[in-house]
Subunit: 309 residues, 2 copies
Amino acid sequence: MADIIDGRAVARDLDEKTKARVDALVAAGHPRPGLTVILVGDDGASQVYVRRKIKACEKVGITSTEHRLPADTKQADLLKLIDELNNDPTVHGILCQVPLPDHIDTRLVLRSISPDKDVDGFHPVNVGRLSTGTGGIVPCTPLGVMILLGTVIDDLKGKDAVVIGKSNIVGKPVANLLLDAECTVTVTHIYTHNLPEIARKADIIVAAAGAPELVKGSWVKPGAVIIDVGITRIMDEATGKEKLVGDVAFDECQHAKAITPVPGGVGPMTIACLLANTVQVAERMAEGEVATESDYADAPDRSMHGSAS
Amino acid sequence: MADIIDGRAVARDLDEKTKARVDALVAAGHPRPGLTVILVGDDGASQVYVRRKIKACEKVGITSTEHRLPADTKQADLLKLIDELNNDPTVHGILCQVPLPDHIDTRLVLRSISPDKDVDGFHPVNVGRLSTGTGGIVPCTPLGVMILLGTVIDDLKGKDAVVIGKSNIVGKPVANLLLDAECTVTVTHIYTHNLPEIARKADIIVAAAGAPELVKGSWVKPGAVIIDVGITRIMDEATGKEKLVGDVAFDECQHAKAITPVPGGVGPMTIACLLANTVQVAERMAEGEVATESDYADAPDRSMHGSAS
């Protein structure tokens, strides 16, 4: 039987560490870490997510602030609010819940959040930092994936990892993180011809395709580690009730070394990583490290291609 | 026999297209595209590279400006110059030749170049744009690799590509570009255990390890396409003279469909792509497109992971 990687327990551990970091900051006289969430309009699902995030903040001692703006908020007013938050020393993380109303340019708004306070890690500058392995804020779900892997694999160096799905929010950043950890990384997607064969060679499978039970037992090498990022609500034919499933046919994969369940695997890590990111920003601001040059891309070495031919 | 991909000829074609774009801009009354190169100190190799770039500008009608600064230039003065160039409407591309003297923070200087004029494509914002497939300036050598591939493969979709080497300047950006083109992409490096086996499955091999003749004939599937980015000067034991070799044992790979020679493959593309990038900036500035929101990261969709578990 595969070990079940208990995401809820790992998230709880992470929350405890986060809480200890919060306490240490406050004890040292620094401002209490603060997360500000902006919610525009009254999308029902968004309200649930925001409530969940705010409740999680309480648990670890992070101050949370919610800005609820009406659906007809002008883009300029939203940008003005973000600018104020960017410059507010008591605000460490800024999160603007999407989707935004149609009259608002979502890309423009999200990139107006300071990269140093972008606790979601989606700002182009943070994406660039991640891609070049030069620090910055790591997006929450990919960070959660790496922490879960760390609970079952001591050293990722040289492992063959296969990432299924190449989204900007999971597949690509996870691939970058695995590459930074010195894995050999294959990124697959809808146009990949021979996915079962490719998956079967993997020591690590990260499934983030959003395709329910795509990964079959026969695709998995005995002893592989599987992180299942997918979560889809489907009808269970046996019971006639809805249920949540991941991208992996869980029951067929008991010959894996370890596997995350759905729910209870990657999901709980996402908010825990959001909190950890917020505290990281607070720590960096406390140390006066924000907006320094330290985490920008390595200087390119052009010598290799500036010469000859 | 493998087809030889003639990088010099492809670069000449690209230069002709670039020249036509320059002529069209000037004919339409826009400023002539301009590339500014900054050279600090008197590194001999750097002087050669800069001279080559400036000469290439002349060929296609790009105005070039060279700022030669003494080795003891203060960092603040260099940053001031870059700030002026960022705001100069007659300057389209800004290139600061590295290495810079030790007292200068290279990362800080390079990121002070406006991402919109960063014709090298190394600014974190451009790296982020590339990683998320949302436009921006593509670094020259990776762009050259993709253009060369395009001369021998009509549609990259679904091809198995293996990138050898994960540098920030070649391996990672090439992997991103191949992924954008819907290839299945495996990135390998020094910690990869089974490189010959992995390479043998590839329809496309991009060798960018900087390891002379690393890729043997037996690693290459018949019909594969090989782009050799490496270039190393070695002693030819047969003749006792130095020669340039790539990362691929060229003579052993005649069962490939096509292969780039070294020299004369990727090398000539790099400067041609620098010129093309400069004209691209000029075109965008002519259209008033620079610094709009259009090429920032896609809005993340958090719905998948904001819910459940």
